[in-house]
């Protein structure tokens, strides 16, 4: 009994109970404020997804509330409870600091577990989809918008390896989605030069997402291959 009593009074144990109690208060407080049943709340919490992005990983919202605000509320409340506990138990300053660090660590572990679970599930699903696929198939799967990858392979099959081409398109290349579409096409096509790297005069035109492309082929060029009404290749006529 004395051993259990001693373990219950360790900073880590007190921190655990402080975080648990704070979590209950914060989550039930939020449910009450928003008028949401507890079951719905926990279901939403379980189904939270944490999107990843090369520029920023935004925090998901739980019923319109940034989830990190809730974690900070739990941490803050836990610190207050720990302070009160340290006064009641007459703990040393060092034990109080240790308990606060432990409580922050517990909240950290909670966030890590939630985000890791989301990441593992997403990675597992992605692994099943990607299993056995070639790079070409992966690109076709990822970039199905406008079939950029397969379009690039089509253009490559009709042009010589180091051809200099000019892109003709209705897309606004100064911003996305036109900008990234052009860059992806240029990447997949190189050493067929779409971006003016080699600064030679173009010997072919690539019509990409061009409305009524057939009618847009200029004088001095002839149609080489037609993919569809918006995508075709024209080459310079020989003089």
């Amino acid at each position: 009994m004395a051993t259990i009593n001693r373990h219950l009074k360790t900073p880590q144990t007190i921190a655990f109970f402080a975080v648990a109690f704070s979590s209950v208060i914060v989550f039930s407080g939020l449910c009450h404020m928003l008028g949401i049943p507890g079951e719905d709340f926990f279901l939403s919490l379980r189904e939270l997804s944490f999107p990843q992005n090369q520029n920023i990983c935004l925090s998901p919202l739980l019923f319109g509330v940034n989830i990190y605000r809730l974690f900070y509320a739990i941490s803050f409340l836990a610190c207050i409870l720990l302070y009160l506990a340290s006064r009641i138990l007459k703990n040393k300053q060092r034990d109080f600091s240790s308990a606060v660090f432990s409580s922050l660590f517990i909240v950290f572990a909670l966030i890590t577990a939630i985000t890791a679970k989301s990441r593992i599930i997403d990675s597992w699903n992605l692994a099943k989809i990607l299993s056995g696929k070639t790079t070409e198939e992966k690109y076709t799967m990822f970039y199905n918008t406008r079939n950029i990858y397969s379009l690039a392979q089509y253009y490559k099959s009709h042009l010589s390896e180091r051809q200099k081409v000019q892109l003709v398109t209705d897309l606004d290349l100064s911003k996305d989605p036109g900008m990234i579409a052009q860059r992806m096409l240029a990447y997949f096509l190189y050493p067929i030069d779409v971006r003016g790297i080699r600064q030679e005069p173009p010997t072919a035109l690539i019509f990409f997402a061009k409305h009524n492309a057939l009618a847009s082929v200029p004088e001095g060029f002839q149609i080489l291959a037609v993919r569809d009404e918006e995508n075709l290749i024209a080459i310079r006529k020989k003089e």
Partner: protein
């Protein structure tokens, strides 16, 4: 896609080149084996990209032979040099310090988390091809141009023409070694930087704490979803993070152990950070400030301090100047840039804005910083843990390492605050989400390292691997 073992073999040459450099430069006993491998990988990739850069500016096409044969010969020369020194008893020999022992208790949980995360990073890098905006648009595209053209003849008309070239050159090298351009192979570079970072950070922490706390430090670092994500994508930011943080930690290791290999490795990593991204030039300045702080505290004679200062500055600044002098004179500051090259940060035409809106801009930038640090899913609650740790710290009990790392953190924040408030790049922070997280990423690991060092109980005995 070739089998995983043969992809691993692709990365053997940087280890061979880097290790030869490490043994030749070291006059003392080498660090533990894994630390040697981590340092070798960083040095080896730097050696490859710098050599390719030299070939490029000398108009020598970088075919496989032109790149690798001189590097292999150079490595053989360095190994021979090391062997001669061993025979002449001027070197302690290539023996490795003892590694830390078995895992126990919480260490097992932490180690499992680290291993699973690392497997995830390797899986993503080896299975998901290049997908990201910047990769298609700039560095992977530039790497492809280098692979096909094998020259710098078109460098000035390539996108982001004035950006440093470490990553495009390394990706071109990978494809050259592989034998053809491969959108998957060029991504396999980044998980090795991730692994090397973890090793170097662990090696640093184990000197000041115990095994569980050192592993906890790694757990705190990789708990950042943003950091983990960047380790799996083909962006330059993670590489810059690796060189930057390694340079700082190696400086601190040198300060404690006085082992010359740490100073020279730190210097080379600092120079390589400036060869990875433009911001690396600013980080080089911060590394020099940290070195000055270390030397000012040292009891060594002025002559020794000057020698150490030059030993650091000459290689680091040399790498920095090599690229920037070449770019400055080859492109011409006033020459009109082709359209695709104009979208980049041009450090030769930074405009400082000291208008009356300065205070308002400062408020907005600070607001964006606070939002990014505390209300996004980038960093877990590491910054909150750091704030708490700093509040409880006692000045007297604060070790020099903690003070130096805190100084480094302040310098990084200051440089970015000043840069975003005072220049035209205010736009990127105020109006977009594009750059701030990536800027913070470059020095984020300092936060978990500080959390561990400050909170480590003073009555537990730290492990000393040597």
């Amino acid at each position: 896609m070739p089998p995983f073992p043969s992809l691993l073999l692709l990365h053997a040459p940087p280890l061979i080149f880097g290790f030869s450099l490490l043994t030749a430069l070291s006059k003392e006993k080498l660090p533990p084996i894994f630390m040697c491998l981590a340092l070798s990988y960083g040095l080896g990739t730097g050696l490859i990209s710098l050599w390719m850069f030299v070939l490029g500016i000398c108009h020598i096409p970088f075919h496989w032979t032109a790149i690798n044969v001189p590097l292999y010969l150079f490595s053989i020369l360095l190994y021979s040099f090391s062997l001669v020194r061993i025979k002449m008893n001027k070197h302690p020999g290539i023996s490795f310090s003892k590694n830390p022992g078995r895992l126990a208790g919480a260490s097992i949980v932490f180690a499992a988390f680290i291993v699973i995360s690392s497997i995830g990073v390797f899986w993503a890098a080896f299975n998901i091809p290049i997908l990201e905006w910047d990769a298609f648009s700039t560095h992977a595209f530039n790497a492809k141009v280098f692979f096909y053209e094998k020259t710098f003849a078109y460098l000035n008309s390539q996108p982001h023409a004035n950006y440093p070239l470490h990553i495009p050159l390394m990706q071109a090298w990978l494809s050259t070694a592989f034998g053809s351009w491969n959108d998957q192979v060029i991504k396999t570079l980044f998980p090795f930087y991730f692994l090397s970072l973890l090793i170097i950070q662990y090696h640093f922490l184990i000197r000041h704490t115990t095994q569980p706390w050192s592993l906890l430090g790694l757990v705190l670092t990789i708990s950042s979803p943003f950091l983990i994500y960047h380790a799996t994508i083909g962006y330059r930011d993670f590489t810059l993070l690796f060189f930057n943080i390694s340079a700082i930690l190696l400086l601190l290791l040198w300060q404690e152990e006085k082992s010359g290999i740490y100073l020279i490795s730190s210097s080379l990593f600092s120079g390589l950070s400036s060869f990875t991204k433009l911001e690396g030039g600013g980080y080089l300045l911060i590394h020099i400030i940290l070195l000055t702080a270390i030397l000012s505290r040292s009891q060594a004679p002025l002559r020794e301090k000057s020698k150490s200062f030059l030993r650091f500055c000459i290689p680091a600044v040399g790498i920095f100047l090599l690229f920037h002098i070449y770019k400055y004179f080859s492109s011409g500051v006033s020459a009109a840039l082709p359209p695709q090259a104009q979208e980049s940060l041009d450090i030769y035409s930074l405009r400082i804005d000291l208008s009356g809106k300065l205070l308002a801009r400062f408020g907005i930038v600070v607001n964006r910083f606070l939002y990014n640090l505390f209300l996004t899913n980038n960093w877990n609650i590491i910054w909150l843990m750091l704030l708490f740790s700093l509040l409880k710290i006692k000045k007297k009990a604060c070790s020099f390492e903690v003070k130096l790392l805190f100084l480094a953190l302040l310098l990084f924040f200051s440089i970015y605050l000043a840069g975003y408030v005072l220049t035209q790049h205010y736009y990127w922070v105020a109006e977009t989400e594009t750059v701030l997280s990536r800027s913070l990423l470059h020095f984020f690991p300092l936060a978990p390292i500080l959390v561990i060092l400050i909170n480590f109980p003073g009555d537990e005995t730290p492990r000393r691997p040597h």
